[in-house]
Amino acid sequence: METLVIHGNEACARGAIAAGCRFFAGYPITPASEITEVMSRLLPRTRGVFLQMEDEIASICAILGAAWGGAKTCTATSGPGFTLMQEGIGWAAETDTPVVVIDVMRGGPATGQPTSSSQQDVMQAKYGSHGDYEVIVLVPSSAQEAFDLTVKAFNLAEVYRNPVILLTDEIVGHTREKVRIPEKVEVVERRKPASNPADYVPFRSAAKGLLEGMPAFNQGYGILVDGQLHDEFGGRAGHKPEVSAAMVERICRKITDHADELMDVEEWMLEDAEIAFIAFGSPARPALRAAKDARNLGVKAGLLKLRILWPFPDRVIDRVAMQTRRIIVPEMNMGKVFREVKRVVAGRAEVFSLPKLGGEVHTPTEILRSMSNDQ
């Protein structure tokens, strides 16, 4: 066990390497550049390939090619780069390609506020590319979680053969904290398909709607990986409505059917809470402080911290909706996850948005005070 004092960005890079990442392609962008820099130092020591590509589009495309080359791969960026990568993310979802994309959120839109934090990309993380597809989005709120959830992201990418987004923010990325790095982390290794090449049907669901294993190029599988809608063999199917529909449904349900298993939250003091904060990322920390302070003032407050954003953890929020009478969602955007919470709650409790723009995270006092605001 190693204990380091590092920021979330470095923790992401170390998590990636611990999870088996051996190919990284990135492009400098504030506030994510440190991830690329740390990878440039650490990855070659593992005989992994590090590239700084000519732009973010080249970065996402290179890591997709590398995934089919057999490597666990990732890239890291922030808002503007994340936007450029969307086509690639869509291709990854469409082709069942495992990759991890780290977005260290900063103020937007456009060039926005490069050196300050935000949570404005939460919807983009899910809906960023065109078309119907699904991604898994994990959200750390500390440097330790940046390490842990990056490892988890790689593992989920392998199990689900899907792009997984690690959505951090500038505060998590740049705050130095104690991070415990175990000797060995639990890693899902990539496995070759069980079938031999002659019998292998690359895009047919096996158990639980998931694909069996993943071949790499030049292992004799002769696989056709096509960004156009395809049948189970990879052959083009754009002219066949039923096959096209089935394919899109398969890649979406591959994730949504597992929403309950994927759920990942932490709870404090919710059993008897009359007011619940639902928070994620940086605001989860002042929210916890606020909930504890509220308790000291005699208010039954609690906190639900989301570590996964997508698929949205409907089931646990459903339970909170029945347990509590008021929910407040502090987030560093105009109020986006608030809408999802409101959707799930469906009127069973009052739901209030506590948005914050400008680049700074909510203070505990701001969150505490919001309990008495009627909106």
Partner: protein, 272 residues
Amino acid sequence: MHPLADKYIRKRTLPLIFCPGCGDGTVLNVFLRAVDDLGIFKDLALVGGIGCSGWLPTYLQSDVLHVLHGRAIPFACGLKLTDPRRKVVVFTGDGDCVGIGGNHFIHAARRNIDLTVIMINNGIYGMTGGQVAPTTPLQGRTQTSPYGNLEPPFDVCELARAAGATYVSRWTAAHPVQLLKTIKEGIEHQGFAFIEVMAQCPTQAGRYIEGTSNAGELLSLLKKRAVSLEKAKETPPEEMTGKFVVGKLHHLTGKREFSQAIYDSFPQEKDR
């Protein structure tokens, strides 16, 4: 069925999607021969961009990526760098390679990464119905240049060479024998190999720019416009208007190849 088709083509995908008389088909034909002659099928990793020429590799039974418009080259870089023993060949069109893909093209050439990029140039965006391309001749009338193209076209071989490519050649679909030789050379070359194939497009460029969809006539035009390297040296510039040079235009050995550089540069234990 042709024995090479029987050996290498995914039967399920036949017949080929190409229009009657399309130059892409000839390139596929010649490529199968190159693969067979070199005996490299097991090591092939093919990448196709978006456009008619991007479909070419999808017909082979090898491992193939059919990727995003303009991005075949960075995908190919990922494949190459995860195992430099792979023979990575990219099939791209003129729009795919130097329109949307221009940035990736020049950087891969700059790095001198060992890829073989076969760009099939029909001077138009064919798959989408015949719009103007960065390689459309001046005054060419297309679906998006109805009054005549005002933009001078690229000389993509010049661009490749200036960017750092170490093998550059140009032939046409009317020169299958020379094409076979250059494709084999390009694949064997350790470095960025760029092969431009001027090709007829009977359906779009043929009808809109040349005024005929007759493949034979279009092929004949390609032959007429192709000037060999030796002849070009003696031809004054004015007489080269509307023509292009064919042959092996650039071949540099000994320049450090990128994937080798990456693998050679891993820090030793003692340097960590």
